[in-house]
């Protein structure tokens, strides 16, 4: 059985991953819709920027976040009076997880939206629905299975986020020390190999669970569509 301290690490990880996903989902869906359905000048560049975190070294993303959202950073300074602080807080870890998982989420959602027959959207408009209503009553419900699987993958990805997190918000026990950071910390101290192993196994179990749930949802959606 995991110890109290290990469960706390797990709880923090789940919290960080959950809020990272929840915070980025609306933006990801909006951007995915724009990429799937609209054409505009500079679309290729925009697409590349969205995908940047996928190919950049995580430490670069973490550093960029530190520069922008740090206490003295241009965005961090703006947000501080509003009581929103990311630097060295768990919220910062969530932000880092969100940014790193964003391309994955946008990609899955975009594919799901592209798979929706645009003529169904046209049909909805001739029936009197404005664009926004069409999106929420036709496009999104039909794309939902894809959005859900993308979300679960992003969630699992967020649980494993390491490089950007440690660069941006450091490795503070109880605040920013998520599972991967705790494992890293344990490997740095002689005689803590058992702790590292136990945390690693915990990490495998949680990630596996996320994948199984995602697979189950995909199958259920496929069955439903066949029915």
């Amino acid at each position: 059985m995991p110890s109290q301290a290990e469960l706390e690490v797990l709880a923090l990880s789940l919290k960080v991953a959950f809020w990272g996903l929840a915070g980025s989902l609306p933006f990801a869906v909006a951007i995915a819709f724009v990429l799937a359905r609209k054409s505009f000048p500079g679309k290729t560049l925009f697409d590349a920027v969205v995908h940047l975190p996928l190919v950049l070294p995580p430490v670069v993303v973490g550093y960029a976040l530190l520069v922008l959202f740090g206490t003295h950073g241009p965005i961090g300074r703006l947000l501080e009076p509003l009581g929103i602080v990311f630097a060295f807080r768990w919220t910062g870890a969530a932000l880092a997880a969100a940014i790193m998982g964003f391309p994955l989420l946008v990609r899955a959602t975009r594919l799901a939206i592209e798979a929706v027959d645009p003529r169904l959207e046209v049909a909805a408009r001739t029936l009197g629905a404005r664009r926004s209503r069409v999106f929420f009553t036709v496009t999104l419900p039909l794309a939902l299975p894809g959005v859900v699987t993308g979300s679960l993958l992003t969630f699992a990805r967020a649980l494993g986020e390491f490089g950007a997190t440690i660069t941006f918000v450091s490795n503070i026990p109880g605040e920013t020390r998520t599972l991967p950071l705790a494992i890293y910390a344990a490997t740095q101290v002689p005689g803590r190999d058992a702790v590292a192993l136990r945390l690693a196994l915990l990490s495998v179990a949680v990630s596996l669970a996320a994948l199984v749930v995602s697979e189950w949802l995909v199958r259920r959606a496929a069955r439903k569509r066949h029915a």
Partner: protein, 362 residues
Amino acid sequence: MLEVDIAVRRGTFDVDAAFASDASIVALFGRSGAGKSTIVNAIAGITRPVRGRIAIGGRVLFDSSAGIDIPPERRRVGYVFQDALLFPHLSVRANLAYGEALTPAAERFVDRARVLDLLGLKPLLDRGTGELSGGERQRVAIGRALLSCPRILLMDEPLASLDAARRSEILQYVELLRDELHLPIVYVSHAIEEVTRLADHLVLVSDGRTVAQGPTAQVLVRPELRPLTGRFEAGAVIETRVARHDETFGLTVLAFADGELVLPNVDALSGEPVRARIRARDVSLAIERPRGLSVQNVLDATIVSLSEEFGAIVDVELRVGSTPLTARITRRAAVQLGLAPGMRVFALVKAVSIDRRSVGFA
């Protein structure tokens, strides 16, 4: 009154359409790819013309010079697509309710119970869209469009994906709608039987242009349009009324201005207007009144012209009184009989060649 006068540019394909009609059913007729769908898409607001004007019952939906372009959701246009396009994530009930729920209470002039009844939709309400046959899907699509209380119904090849039995079924529903709901319908088709049966007003579309329009019978009989209306299917359409039924032999007699036509029983009351299409290849000619003949329709006719074409086949344009009729015969027959314009002949039409599919109730 539907008024359309538009130019649409679609890549390299240009569509120029101009027509006006206040018939209960207007058919846009032409080959696949002629631009028919582009025209209805422009009426629905899905495709934006580069210039022109579209108005329904005096209400302007699009006017490039006045800068008017009402979005599709506010045009009050019901659109029935070729492949129904039902929402797959919703039940039949929810599909039907989709447009109805978005209609302001003041605009709801279509009675839901009546529509469900007319289209036989009640038994389907709780099904998923995946559990419907092709004909059922199309009926639900028509119901869904009607319940959004449109001012006009656009039907783009609604029968194209159905088999013959289903087609005839849906055609009957369309006739019912026309007679019961008094909703103008724009019916797109490349099938001449559908057009003859349904439409009072025909707009012939070819290569992105509206090349001819007018009452269906008059347009279809024009020989110069024959390459567009279909060579194989060439024929005349005669506006008639049911004169009487012959109960003994199960026949119906149709009267037109210049004579009568006998055909197997059609389901119509005496005095009801009926449009009968007689294909040119079902008409034979005789230069003397034939005797000892099974053919039930022998019409006195005058030859107006013979098509000047080489090859085995000649189309002979006739007038029965003032009613046009076309006979398609071999060139050899025309030569052997010495046919020439102005000659009096007898046009023979087998009663059984005028079947249920060739007859439309106007």
